[in-house]
């Protein structure tokens, strides 16, 4: 141990001992970063009406409450449906836009790209009240269509950036070769280009699913009536009281997110290997 402390940590002869404060600090930061994400998991299995850690008695009470409640189940169905449809709308829209902007060399490509990533920059409250107003006029307030369109707007920049950067690393001559051999442009895209960027497309799809599933503010304004989303109901419950059912929902959301992200990592990894 002592030897390790005296050994150099960098090329400039700073020892591990001199860096000890940094290691301690970083460990604390890592614990603080992760704790709030994982602490709800054991808490959700408590039998108590009050959230406690560690739980005195274990039970699935709050999970039973969630799955037994028509209101929560309805909200979960709405959230999954919205996230799935958002994925189906945002992914193709974003991919063909990324391809179009990438291969078209008109002067206003850069301006169009900036416009398409603005949903990421504009404060989400503004997007929400703007959509709320527009939906009143279009008569799609509190409908699934409206919710999916607004969520697709948020997901679009994610798909665009991920597939756009994959296209930059793709050799356009491969597609040109296919076309000189007689393939139509759309066919060359589907059979040559798309398979090359498929990992980015899948990552973009997963990100758009999550973007919709986790979204709160827009859902607060444009989802309501008979089909509020899970996050909207959770937010309203949080303002009133600390309901342990939310710990159970949170646990399931953490697991879902982690699973999707591991999936995205696996896709990203195989891209590097192949």
């Amino acid at each position: 141990m002592l030897n390790w402390l005296r050994s150099p940590a960098s090329d400039t002869q700073v020892t591990h001992g001199q860096r000890l404060w940094l290691y301690v600090f970083a460990t604390i930061v890592m614990i603080l970063l992760v704790t709030p994400t994982v602490i709800v998991i054991p808490m959700s299995f408590s039998d108590s009406r009050f959230l406690e850690f560690p739980p005195q008695t274990w039970s699935l009470r709050w999970y039973r409450h969630f799955f037994g409640s028509e209101e929560w189940m309805q909200a979960a169905r709405t959230s999954f449906e919205a996230a799935f449809l958002t994925m189906l709308v945002a992914t193709p829209t974003g991919v063909i836009a990324a391809y179009g902007l990438h291969s078209s060399r008109v002067p206003f490509v850069r301006a169009a790209f900036m416009l398409l990533i603005t949903p990421m920059m504009v404060p989400v409250v503004l997007v929400a009240i703007g959509a709320f107003y527009a939906y009143v006029k279009l008569h799609i307030l509190y409908t699934m269509t409206g919710l999916v369109l607004a969520h697709s707007l948020l997901a679009l920049p994610l798909v665009l950036i991920v597939t756009g950067s994959a296209l930059k690393g793709f050799d356009p001559n491969l597609e040109n070769a296919a076309r000189s051999l007689g393939a139509a442009r759309w066919k060359a895209f589907l059979t040559v280009t798309l398979p090359q960027i498929r990992f980015a497309v899948v990552t973009g799809a997963l990100l758009s699913f999550l973007a919709s599933f986790d979204e709160v503010v827009i859902a607060m304004f444009v989802s309501g009536g008979d089909n509020p989303t899970l996050t909207r109901n959770m937010f309203n419950a949080l303002r009133d009281q600390i309901d342990p059912t939310i710990a159970a929902i949170s646990t399931m959301m953490v697991l879902l997110t982690t699973a999707l992200m591991i999936l995205a990592q696996i896709f990203g990894q195989s891209k590097k290997d192949g």
């Binding site: 970083a26 970063l33 709030p36 994400t37 291969s103 107003y133 707007l153 709160v216 503010v217 949170s250």
Partner: protein, 300 residues
Amino acid sequence: MAAADMSAPDMNAAGLRRDERFERLRLFGLSSPALLLVLVILVLPVGWLFYVSFIGADGSFSLENYARMINRKSYARIFWTTFEVSVLTTGLCVLIGYPFAYFLAQLPQRFANLCLITVLLPFWTSLLVRTYAWLVLLQKNGLINNWAISLGLWDEPVKLVHNLNGTLIGMVHIMLPFLILPTYGAMRAINRDYINAAANLGASPRRAFWTVFLPLSTPGLFAGALMVFVLCLGFFVTPAVLGGGRVIMVSMKIVSNIELFVNWGAASALGVVLLVLTGGLLWIASRFVNLAAATAGGAH
């Protein structure tokens, strides 16, 4: 005959050029569904908000919605709170995030990737889940109060949530990844030979850090800090839950103006100010750093 021969290649060239222009426009047209979506759901409604912000209570053109922000004390306090929370959050994120990114950058790549999971895990997790977790941890009989009392740090439960403290704790936790990721990226890209060269020329490790490493890492730090600041300005969920009504930021006033008072004029004017501030900052920043690259990590 001869004249026709002369002009045929020219005509062909012109035709090809026309075809190419047409082809380019057709390719550009592929982005039209995306552009249409942004136009209908974002640009037009925000444009309408802009218009409404200049309409007074009597329906004619007026600046009363903006005058209200200057005349009323409550609005000044909201802007001050927003500014205060954003500056403090950004400052704390820099103080915590920079040394942490430095720590990651000094580790061997494999080990750093492992530690990076602790940054990415909260980054992916739903904002609402993390806010809820802090609410639980910080409440009066929460984990932190209980532990601190049993360790003897303080005698009776301290109010950690439903105030500025809780808001800041939650927001720093949520914003940290936005600072750490670009800063770490910039640090990884620094060629270690520069530091070694500085050391070779007689600089102490401290001096090599301050005069070589720090300046080379600032573009990443700057991009991250700006991202955090801009996101803080328009933040809603975390301050609304952890602030418990005592920390009122611009975005919350916009929401309450619509939900409680149905005052579109006041809400729109606040929205326009928020948008101009955000857009202005991003515009200034875009001249220094590549924003698309800085945000590519995902901003959900």
